[in-house]
């Protein structure tokens, strides 16, 4: 026991006295997480289709303008602006703002747009009832077309453009139907006096129910903070592989490992002390990065990270992820024969794991075949576990599978390291 405790204390002293190493371990991931979240925030907002900025110029001041305006405001998708500095935005100004990329879309409802619809409805009623000689019918027969202009930022996604167009068409159709029904009802009242007027009642005959086919990640679309904080925390945790492997190689190069191997105690004792210390590093990294997500991100105009109520599940995920990372580091440090080898292989392999695991690009936007491969990345298991906790409010039972995979990875890595170490004794 004294050997293990002393070894842990020695590793602790070596770690805290390497100031440059401490900065790399703790400060760099924080900078990385903030920069990556800021960069990816706009992309995530687009993917999530929330708060799409829109300029609305309502020159109609009548039913159509009101219907479109109310419909757009009632939707959760748009961040609508009609005035700037207390002044109504003109069509020219709206076009300029969209062209400059300040707003994704501009909707211009022209003057007398409602009158045009009204005239077309009257013409239709007139045509339908002309053989009945209904008194009071407006004698309009000419149909006219009005243009609701939509200015679109070229960077706006096709799906979003389609959504805006269909929303506008729905609002316009609804108004046309209402007007038609109202005029039709009035005409019928003229034709059959004494009857109660037919009240227009909107009724949704067919309802569309959205049900997610999977209970897993397909139904979860995280925002930039919900994705980036756990993603880059996993990335940073796995990057401790490099200093850990470097630590093992350095001991081998300077003869300390030789000396330790000739001393009582096993290889496992030495390695466990390193795992213990670097596991502590991983925990501190996690706490710092979560703190950034909760307290710093909102100050930068980013969404706040919701940690969720299941702190024990979070602890288990942190422990599993940390062990997986340190296990990988121990194996790499045991097998690699030089710092260069460990640094190159270690960083490239982590980047591959990260890419497959959905650290840069979330797995839900990856092609199906890559998504299958991503199932084998430990960073994917970790990230998915954190998604379970942060996004799905998952408890211990939900993260058990991901946690078990990470722990299994740790055990396999450790077995490889021990077997390789014993193999070198017989060479």
């Amino acid at each position: 026991m004294i050997r293990l405790l002393s070894s842990i204390y020695k590793e602790f002293l070596v770690l805290i006295r390497d100031r440059a190493g401490l900065i790399i371990l703790f400060l760099m991931p924080l900078v990385l997480i903030i920069i990556m979240t800021l960069i990816q925030d706009a992309t995530f907002r687009t993917v999530n289709e929330v708060d799409i900025s829109m300029v609305l110029v309502n020159n109609d001041k009548d039913s159509l303008g009101e219907a479109i305006s109310e419909g757009l405001y009632a939707s959760d998708y748009f961040d609508i602006v009609e005035e700037i500095d207390g002044e109504k935005i003109t069509e020219e100004k709206a076009r300029e703002l969209v062209a400059r990329g300040k707003y994704k879309i501009g909707v211009i409802i022209p003057e007398r747009a409602t009158d045009a619809i009204r005239g077309n409805v009257d013409a239709l009623i007139n045509k339908s009832f002309k053989s009945f000689n209904v008194p009071g019918l407006k004698k309009r027969t000419k149909k006219s077309t009005i243009n609701v202009t939509i200015y679109i930022d070229p960077a706006t996604s096709v799906s979003f453009k389609n959504m805006v167009m269909s929303s506008l068409k729905e609002f316009t159709s609804q108004l046309e139907i209402e007007m038609f029904f109202k005029n039709f009802s009035e005409a019928m009242a003229q034709l059959m006096p004494g009857q109660n007027p037919i009240e227009f009642e909107s009724f949704e005959t067919i309802k569309y129910e959205q049900v997610y086919a999977s209970t897993k990640e397909d139904n979860i679309v995280p925002n930039s903070v919900q994705h980036n904080v756990p993603a880059w925390t996993m990335f940073a945790m796995f990057f401790i592989v490099l200093p850990l492997a470097g630590n093992i190689i350095k001991e081998r190069e300077d003869g300390s490992a030789f000396r330790l191997k000739t001393m009582p105690g096993s290889f496992i004792t030495v390695m466990f002390s390193k795992i213990f210390i670097f596991l502590g590093v991983a925990f501190i990294q996690l706490i710092l990065m979560l703190a950034v997500g909760v307290y710093i991100m909102p100050l930068l105009g980013l969404p706040q990270l919701e940690i969720g109520p299941h702190k024990i599940a979070l602890g288990i995920m942190a422990l599993s992820s940390g062990l997986a990372a340190t296990g990988y580091g121990v194996t790499l440090g045991t097998i690699a024969t030089s710092h260069e080898q460990a640094a190159t292989f270690g960083s490239v392999s982590i980047i591959i794991f990260a890419a497959l695991g959905g650290i840069w690009v979330p797995t839900y936007v990856m092609p199906a075949n890559i998504r299958i491969i991503s199932q084998f990345s430990p960073l994917h298991w970790g990230l998915n576990g954190f998604y379970d906790i942060f996004l799905r409010g998952g408890d211990i039972s939900v993260i058990l599978a991901e946690s078990a995979k990470l722990l299994l990875f740790f055990v396999i890595m450790l077995i490889i390291a021990v077997v390789y170490n014993n193999y070198t004794k017989t060479k």
């Binding site: 020695k10 000396r259 191997k261 004794k425």
Partner: protein, 252 residues
């Protein structure tokens, strides 16, 4: 009776590294008595490091047996490790730790603790003139000071056998004298010393017995003075060494 005095016995020891058909050591048999200062001398690639590595239990031989104080690594690894002390050629210390922290760590690894360890560290630091620098980090030490701490780390637990791999390489005359004097003192107290060096003059004066090894074989064994006296045409151990091993340059 002589055999009972052997603390190390190597019997028909052969070592092939994987992928090589040339043995690093070839059928070596050697007995080292208790209390000897035994020099393993040889040019680069002679097989010294392989022999020392096997003696330290770092890896096993391809064939043959090694007995350390009557025990074999296969059966008594931990017991053997407790009675040996190793001083590698490299400065196998942690530069960011102080001398005392390094020695405390290595002492703990040998199972020493508490007051016993503290007093042993103080005793050794004083013996090697380093007590005033105990709380300085190793990275601030001179080469000679590092060598002395490197040595102390291997003798803290008062081992029966010390393996010294080039213990005085790269140090000044003063440090070398201090190191060798104290090693003699430790030897007089009963510790057997196995020593490798390229400094023939140092080996001649320091060792009670030497074995000259080359190409994995033992070429000669004897007390330095006896070896020198046995060949009147040579005046010192270095000339005998060159005569036996040749003047051709060696690669590792």
């Amino acid at each position: 009776m002589q055999e009972n005095n052997h603390i190390i016995e190597l019997k028909y020891l052969t070592k092939y590294y994987k992928g090589s058909n040339v043995p690093a050591i070839d059928n070596i048999s050697l007995n080292i008595d208790k209390g000897e200062i035994y020099g393993l001398l040889g040019p680069n690639g002679a097989g010294k490091t392989t022999t020392i590595s096997i003696l330290c239990g770092l890896f096993g031989p391809t064939s043959g047996n090694v007995f350390i104080d009557g025990m074999e690594y296969q059966h008594s690894r931990e017991k053997i490790k407790n009675i040996i002390g190793v001083v590698p050629q490299e400065i196998a210390l942690y530069p960011l730790l102080t001398a005392r922290e390094n020695l405390t760590f290595f002492g703990h690894m040998y199972g020493l603790k508490g007051k016993e360890l503290k007093s042993r560290i103080n005793e050794c630091l004083e013996l090697f003139g380093l007590e005033k620098n105990a709380n300085r980090r190793i990275k601030t030490f001179s080469g000679g000071m590092k060598r002395r701490i490197n040595l102390i780390a291997g003798i803290l637990h008062k081992p029966k056998i010390i393996y010294l791999d080039e213990p005085t390489v790269g140090v000044d005359v003063q440090s070398r004298t201090v190191i060798l004097d104290h090693l003699r003192t430790i030897n007089k107290e009963g510790t057997t010393i196995i020593y490798t060096s390229h400094y023939m003059e140092e080996a001649e004066n320091f060792c009670s017995k030497v074995a000259i090894i080359d190409k994995g074989e033992i070429l000669t064994v004897g007390r330095p003075k006896e070896l020198v006296n046995s060949k009147p045409e040579y005046t010192d151990l270095e000339s005998i060494f060159l005569h036996i091993t040749g003047r051709a340059l060696r690669d590792e």
